[in-house]
């Protein structure tokens, strides 16, 4: 039994999720659209930035791996 996702799969998931979150954070408005669900915009931004940083970390690890092989 082993986790079926590889390192590059996780990196891809991080990329997709962080882009969605970063765009949402920039476009979200407290005045328009569905306002019944209350969210803290600052926390959404923190989550988006954290995922973005994690993605960059995975990219850096991949670059170091490629550099170590050559």
């Amino acid at each position: 039994m082993q986790f079926p996702l590889s390192f590059s799969d996780i990196s891809l998931w991080l990329a997709a999720t962080s882009i969605i979150l970063l765009i949402t954070t920039e476009l979200i408005s407290p005045y328009y659209g569905q306002t019944n669900l209350h969210i803290k915009k600052g926390r959404l931004r923190t989550a988006a930035l954290t995922l973005g940083i994690l993605l960059l970390l995975t990219v850096l690890i991949r670059i170091f791996e490629i550099m170590a092989r050559t």
Binding site: M1, L37, G42
Partner: protein, 352 residues
Amino acid sequence: MKIRTLFRPKIILALLLAATAMNAFSAYLFNRLDQVVHGDLYRYGLQFNYEWAEQYWTYAKMMLGLIGLAIATTVISITLILVGSRARETRGFSNKRTLKIDPTKLACAILLSAGIVALALSINFASSILAFIGLGLTFWGALLLYMTPSRHVSLELLNATATTTITNIEKILTYFNPEGKGVYLPPKYLKDFESSLIFIPLQAEQALPKPEEVEEEKLYSKNPRGILLEPPGLALSKLFEEKLGTSFTKTDLNYLQEKLPKLFIEDMEMVENINALKESNTITIEITNYIFKDICKETRKHPKIHESIGCLLCSGIACALAKATGKPITIEREEQSQDGKTTKIQYHIQEE
């Protein structure tokens, strides 16, 4: 006979969790037993036959199904206890206790549990699609839980609490009947630099009191004659300072012009748009769609407070300006557009 017991969610939760763990352990032990039948017993001479195998499979499926149902039932009970809060509903003379469920928390719990189940199944079946689904569901469930505020106060409630304070200030002003406009005193006039005071002279064109005559505890100043009040927007301006992580006394007007729009629009989500313009000794601030609209509308019904002090947001900005410029500030004019969405406030920086 009725026995009344106290509702202790922690004990019930612990019991339900123990039940879930025991059910899961039962499923594991049954799988081990199944391995004994399918592996070891054949080595001791067991011969396969559909007559006994079909009965065995039926009982095995029923047993695992019932264990699964028991786990699902206890998980639903745990979820209901976690997401629900007990509320007492009073109708007439009878008290009725109801369980109030927060839909956001329920959604979080469903997403999280579905995500965890999908992740567990993905490991069992080595399926990357299930792993992606599980990862996504778990992440969005956790994110929803993290970004929803734990407590939320409706604007109606906030407006209702502010109304009485406005009426009381109006009563004080009506009693003293001042002729002059309220002056927001800069920190050099105060003993506590972080505080703020507004001086309302009883006669127009009156000089400001000397710093040694200003005391935060005093309501009435004899020389020159006037009223000393804590501005209604003081707490708001302190909140601005807290959010910006600095005191306005350490900043200047340029800092305010640069930081206030971001603070008001993005961080505090108080206004839809804000523009600040400085022309010689006048600062004009234009605000669109602000959340204190109703409180300010209520303030306009009280002519004295509207003329001398200004509404809650105008007062908060005036406190910040007095601290940042280090000069006395008066609210010259406050105009509202016809559709009521935009408010233009003119502040005057007094030269001493």
